[in-house]
Amino acid sequence: MLREYLRLFFSFLRIGAFTFGGGWAMISIIEKEIVSSKKWIDREEFLDLLAMAQAMPGILAVNIAVAVGDKICGKRGSVFAALGTILPSFVIILCIAIFLTPETIKNNETISSIFKGIRPAVVALIIAPVITSAKSAKINIKTIIIPIGVALLIFSNIPYISNPILFIVLGALGGAYYSKKANPK
């Protein structure tokens, strides 16, 4: 069992060390690490965990780690997954805080040119799961309006409307209503 925990911990340590650009950028890496290569969970389950992680407050990347860790190895698994996700950035930022000033990092030409290359790649890492998740959500001609509408409404930055939580609540209510209508008891 300890081996399972450690595998989970090191998987999320790798994920945490290479997550640039926030929680959504983790999805591609988690899909490779957890879903396709180790087959710890299937794609549909992963999508449901993502929905839950996003609906909760707090840091998305950690929420995803907790949900996936718990699914695979239970409560203790979620602790290992969360620690793995946090540790790389904790150590790096602590070193910067102790040994460097923000200016040394900000004005470092090497780091800045490396990141000019990484940032567009991170965007690609978020575009790819749009398509893979659309497939596992079995999006069809009739339902494709939902993700497109949600994406555009959030992107357009309208006060009160462009809020992910609003669409999560609407999606949950819609799903609950539909399930009652489809299976009347």
């Binding site: 926030g22 992680a53 707090g58 718990d70 940032r119 690609a124 509408g149 959030i154």
Partner: protein, 175 residues
């Protein structure tokens, strides 16, 4: 009241009221830590810049950094980082256990069925929001990197970590 308690209280609030992840939480973090007079607005901008140049979630980065600056001790970093994580940790754990216990419930099944297309839209909106001049500094190499990375991550079995490393090396060579 000790500075540690103030720090823990501030990050507890960020952890429990910060919805939407990452950059959506920024204004809340800013309000808590700049208004407390712990750091200046300029320092906050620096922390955001550093977060963009280091791995990891910005919520963690800011907690670790500000925790250290405010207390001048590693314990401050640990305290702030743990308090920003623990509320949502417990919430996610509790919710996922509840969901698993009731996974055959028709309404819960329906809820997740309704959520799936929404999550696809949320990921798409995250991608759309990142397509800006901060991430695409030109119309040539930036777009070439993005398209190549997409092809590699979507059509091949190459691990995304290698794609990030390659993109970093490439950026170092051309910029």
């Amino acid at each position: 009241m000790s500075i540690y308690l103030k720090l823990i209280w501030a990050y507890f609030k960020i952890g429990i009221f910060g919805f939407g992840g990452g950059y959506a939480m920024l204004s809340l973090i800013q309000k808590e830590v700049v208004a407390s007079g712990w750091i200046t607005n300029n320092m906050f901008t620096d922390i955001v810049a550093i977060s963009q140049m280091t791995p990891g979630p910005i919520g963690i980065n800011s907690a670790t950094y500000i925790g250290y600056v405010v207390t001048n001790s590693v314990w401050g970093s640990i305290a702030a980082t743990l308090t920003v994580v623990i509320p949502s940790f417990l919430l996610v754990l509790y919710t996922s256990h509840y969901v698993r216990k009731n996974k055959d419930n028709k309404i819960i099944k329906g809820i997740f069925l309704g959520l799936r297309p929404v999550v696809v839209g949320l990921i798409a909106s995250a991608a759309l929001m990142l397509m800006n001049r901060d991430n695409f500094i030109d119309y040539t190499w930036s777009i070439a990197i993005c398209v190549t990375s997409f092809i590699l991550v979507y059509y091949t079995k190459i691990h995304p970590i290698y794609i990030i490393i390659l993109a970093g090396i490439f950026g170092y060579m051309i910029y």
